[in-house]
C-alpha cells in the first residue's frame, strides 16, 4: 500500500478513536469540565499528564534541535524533565491539598485579592497563548507533509479536531483522550528509534545504542563517528558544542525547569487526582512516561544527524547527485522546509558549515523527526505512525492549554470576579465559549508563527517561570509575602522577561517592531531571550520580598491557610467555592 493511503488510514483511525472517547466521556458538570471530577487514578493521570505536556515541541522539534546543537541541546532534555522534581516536591502536593480548580484561584485566595487573581489570569493567558502557537505550527507542519495539504489547510483541520473533543469533553474528555494519545505518540516515537538504533549500532535500545559501536564492524563508537563526520564538514563537535556559554546553558535549563513547574495546564492536572499522596506519585508516573521519550530523543537526534550526512555524502568526497536525491528529499522540498541551491553548478549536493559553499540552504530543524524514518528507509507503516504520533502530541497539548485558558476566563474572570452569581450551567456554557475563542486566536497566531515550534514553546516556559512559578512558591513556603508583594513581583517578573524577549523578537513578535537595537542581542550577560525566564523569576522573588517587607503582613486567616495546605490529610475532592 502506498504511503499516502496508509497515512490517511492510520491518522484517520486515531482521530476516530479520540472523537469516540470524547463522546463517551462528555462532561456534564463544571467539576467534570475543569478537573475531570477529581477522581482520576494516578497512573492514568500520569499518562495523561505526559501527553498533555509532551507537545509538538517535544515530539517534532526537540530531537531536531538537539541534532543540530549536539551537547547544547541538553538544555531541553534536562530542563523539560527536571521541572517535575520541583513540581513533585515543592508544588503539586500543596496545590492539590488546597483543592480548587485553577491556578489563579489559588493565587487570588492566598494573596487575598482579586487584583492578584486578575494578574495571574493575564500571566496565564500570555504564556498559554505563546505555547499554543507552537502547537499550531506543529500541527500545520505535520499535516502539510503527510496529508499533502497546504500548511494553512493543515492548521484548519487541526483546529476542527481539537474543537470537537476539547469543547465537548472538557477535562474529562481531554484526560481520557490524552491517555490514548500518549500510547500513539510513544509508540510512534520509539518504534522508528529502535529500528534506526538496530541499523546503526545493532543495539535495539536507543538509550544504549547511542553509546555503542557502529554496526559496520569498524569498532568505532557511534558518537565518535558522528563527531568526526561533523567536524570534517566544519560543524562544531557534536558531543561538546555548547549553546552559548556555560552561564547561558545554566540559565536556559533553569528557566525551562521552573517554567515546567509553573505552567498552569500542567499544574491543573494534579487537581484531578483523589488524594495528596496521589499527587506525589502522579508526578512520578508522569515523569516515567515522559522519560521514555526523553531518553530516546538524544539517540534519535544523533542518529538522524549521522544518517542525514551519510545520505548526502555516503563516502567522504563523493556527494550524491541532486537528480538522484531520495524521495523524502523531494517531498520535503515541496513544503519549503528543505531547500537546495547548486552554488558550484556540479549537480551534486554539498553540505557543509561554510556559508559560501553550503548548498543545503535550508534544513528546518522541525523536519528531522518526521523525516527520520524515511531517511533511514523504514517501512511505510512506520512513517504513517510517526505522522499520527506528531499529531497526537500537538493535539493533546493544545487541548490541555485551551482548557487552562478557558477555565481562567470562565472560572476566574467571569464566575470569580465579574458575575459571581452565575449558575453552573451558564458557567459551563461560558467555558465552552471561551475555549472556542481561544481556538480561534491560537489558529490565527498559528498562521503567523514567530520562530520554530520549540523556540516559541521555550519562550512560554520563560514567561511561566518569571510570573506564576515564584508566586506559587512564595504562596506555599512563605507566610510573610503579602498581596502587594505578590502582585508587584508577578508584574515585574513578566514585564522584564517580555521586555527582553520583545527587544529581540519585536513587540508582540512583529519583527518590524524591534526597539533598542543598539543594545545588540543577548546583551545581558550573553543570555538569549528564551533563557531569560530564570532572570525574570529572580526579579519577581526580589521585588516580592522587598515590597512585602515594607507593607503589612497577611491577615491571620491567610496564614492559617498556608498552615492548612502543608498537612496532607483531608484534601477532599477538588472544590468549588
Amino acid at each position: 500500500m502506498d504511503l499516502q493511503t496508509l497515512t490517511y488510514i492510520v491518522v484517520g483511525a486515531t482521530f476516530a478513536l479520540y472523537i469516540g472517547i470524547a463522546i463517551w466521556a462528555r462532561a456534564g458538570s463544571t467539576k467534570e469540565f475543569y478537573v475531570a471530577g477529581g477522581g482520576v487514578n494516578p497512573v492514568a493521570n500520569g499518562m495523561a499528564t505526559a501527553a498533555d505536556w509532551m507537545s509538538a515541541a517535544s515530539f517534532i522539534s526537540m530531537a531536531g534541535l538537539i541534532a543540530f546543537m549536539g551537547y547544547g541541546g541538553s538544555v531541553f532534555l534536562m530542563g523539560w524533565t527536571g521541572g517535575y522534581v520541583i513540581l513533585a516536591m515543592l508544588l503539586a502536593p500543596y496545590l492539590r491539598k488546597y483543592g480548587k480548580f485553577t491556578v489563579p484561584e489559588f493565587i487570588g485566595d492566598r494573596f487575598y485579592s482579586n487584583a492578584a487573581r486578575v494578574v495571574a489570569v493575564v500571566c496565564l493567558i500570555i504564556c498559554s497563548v505563546t505555547y499554543v502557537i507552537g502547537q499550531m505550527k506543529g500541527v500545520g507542519v505535520a499535516f502539510a507533509r503527510f496529508l499533502e495539504v497546504s500548511y494553512d489547510m493543515g492548521l484548519y483541520i487541526g483546529m476542527t479536531i481539537v474543537f470537537i473533543y476539547a469543547v465537548l469533553g472538557g477535562m474529562k474528555g481531554i484526560t481520557y483522550t490524552q491517555i490514548a494519545q500518549y500510547c500513539v505518540l510513544i509508540l510512534a516515537y520509539t518504534i522508528p528509534a529502535v529500528f534506526i538504533s538496530l541499523q546503526l549500532t545493532g543495539n535495539p535500545l536507543p538509550q544504549l545504542g547511542l553509546g555503542s559501536t557502529m554496526a559496520d564492524g569498524s569498532g568505532v563508537y557511534m558518537l565518535d563517528r558522528l563527531d568526526q563526520v561533523v567536524t570534517e564538514l566544519g560543524f562544531a563537535q557534536y558531543t561538546v558544542s555548547k549553546r552559548g556559554d556555560t552561564l547561558n546553558m545554566f540559565v536556559y535549563t533553569m528557566s525551562l525547569m521552573i517554567g515546567t513547574a509553573g505552567l498552569p495546564h500542567v499544574i491543573i492536572r494534579f487537581f484531578t487526582v483523589p488524594k495528596v499522596k496521589d499527587a506525589r506519585s502522579s508526578a512520578g508516573y508522569a515523569l516515567l512516561f515522559i522519560a521514555i521519550l526523553y531518553t530516546t530523543a538524544p539517540a534519535v537526534a544523533a542518529m538522524a544527524r549521522l544518517n542525514l550526512h551519510q545520505t548526502i555524502e555516503p563516502v567522504a568526497g563523493q556527494n550524491i547527485a541532486y537528480d538522484e536525491r531520495p524521495a523524502w528529499f523531494k517531498n520535503w522540498e515541496k513544503t519549503g522546509l528543505l531547500a537546495f541551491e547548486d552554488k558550484n553548478g556540479d549537480g551534486r549536493i554539498q553540505y557543509s558549515a561554510d556559508k559560501a559553499t553550503n548548498e543545503m540552504v535550508k534544513v528546518d530543524n522541525d523536519i528531522m523527526v518526521l523525516a527520520n524514518p524515511e531517511i533511514a528507509k523504514l517501512p511505510n507503516w512506520v512513517i504513517a505512525l510517526v505522522a499520527a504520533g506528531g499529531l497526537a502530541a500537538a493535539l493533546s497539548t493544545a487541548a490541555g492549554l485551551l482548557l487552562a485558558i478557558a477555565s481562567a476566563i470562565s472560572h476566574d474572570l467571569l464566575k470569580g470576579i465579574l458575575k459571581p452569581d452565575m449558575d453552573e450551567k451558564s458557567e459551563l456554557m461560558w467555558s465552552r465559549v471561551a475555549m472556542v475563542g481561544a481556538i480561534g486566536v491560537a489558529g490565527y497566531l498559528g498562521l503567523n508563527p514567530p520562530g520554530f515550534a520549540a523556540g516559541t514553546v521555550a519562550l512560554a516556559f520563560g514567561l511561566a517561570a518569571s510570573s506564576i512559578f515564584p508566586a506559587l512558591m512564595m504562596g506555599i513556603f512563605s507566610k510573610r509575602v503579602n498581596m502587594q508583594g505578590a502582585i508587584a513581583g508577578m508584574i515585574a517578573g513578566i514585564f522584564i522577561t517580555l521586555f527582553y524577549v520583545f527587544q529581540h523578537k519585536g513587540l508582540f513578535f512583529i519583527p518590524e517592531w524591534t526597539y533598542l537595537e543598539s543594545w545588540g542581542s543577548n546583551w545581558f550577560m550573553g543570555i538569549e531571550p528564551n533563557a531569560f525566564g530564570a532572570i525574570g523569576a529572580i526579579v519577581n522573588f526580589a521585588v516580592a520580598y522587598i515590597v512585602s517587607s515594607m507593607t503589612a503582613e497577611p491577615p491571620q486567616h491567610v496564614q492559617d491557610m498556608v498552615e492548612y495546605i502543608r498537612i496532607p490529610v483531608g484534601a477532599g475532592q477538588a472544590q468549588d467555592h
Binding site: Y71, S74, L77, G211, Y221, V240, K277, L287, R566
Partner: protein, 88 residues
C-alpha cells in the same frame, strides 16, 4: 484527622523540608553540576561510547530525576504515617 499536637505539626514540617532540601541538592548537583558546570572535566572520562559529562546531560540526569521523585513519594508516605496524617 489532624496533628496530635502543635509540636508534631512543627516536626512534621521540619522533617519534610529537610528531606526536600537533601533531594534538591542531589537534583542540582546531578543536572546543573555534572551536566553543565563540570561537564568539560567529566568528559575526560568515558562511559562506553559516551563521554561522561555528555551522558549526564542527555541520559543520567533524567534517570536521577525519576529516582528522586519516587524516593520522595515513598519517604513522604512513611512520614505521613509516622505522624498520623496519612489518608488511608
Amino acid at each position: 484527622m489532624a496533628f496530635r499536637s502543635e509540636e508534631d505539626a512543627k516536626n512534621y514540617w521540619r522533617e519534610n523540608v529537610s528531606l526536600m532540601v537533601k533531594l534538591m541538592i542531589i537534583w542540582f548537583v546531578v543536572s546543573f553540576g555534572c551536566g553543565i558546570l563540570f561537564v568539560d572535566a567529566l568528559n575526560n572520562i568515558q562511559l562506553g561510547g559516551y563521554k561522561l559529562g555528555f551522558w549526564f546531560a542527555q541520559q543520567g540526569s533524567i534517570y536521577t530525576f525519576l529516582v528522586l521523585i519516587w524516593y520522595y513519594a515513598k519517604a513522604m508516605g512513611k512520614l505521613d504515617a509516622k505522624y498520623g496524617v496519612n489518608e488511608d
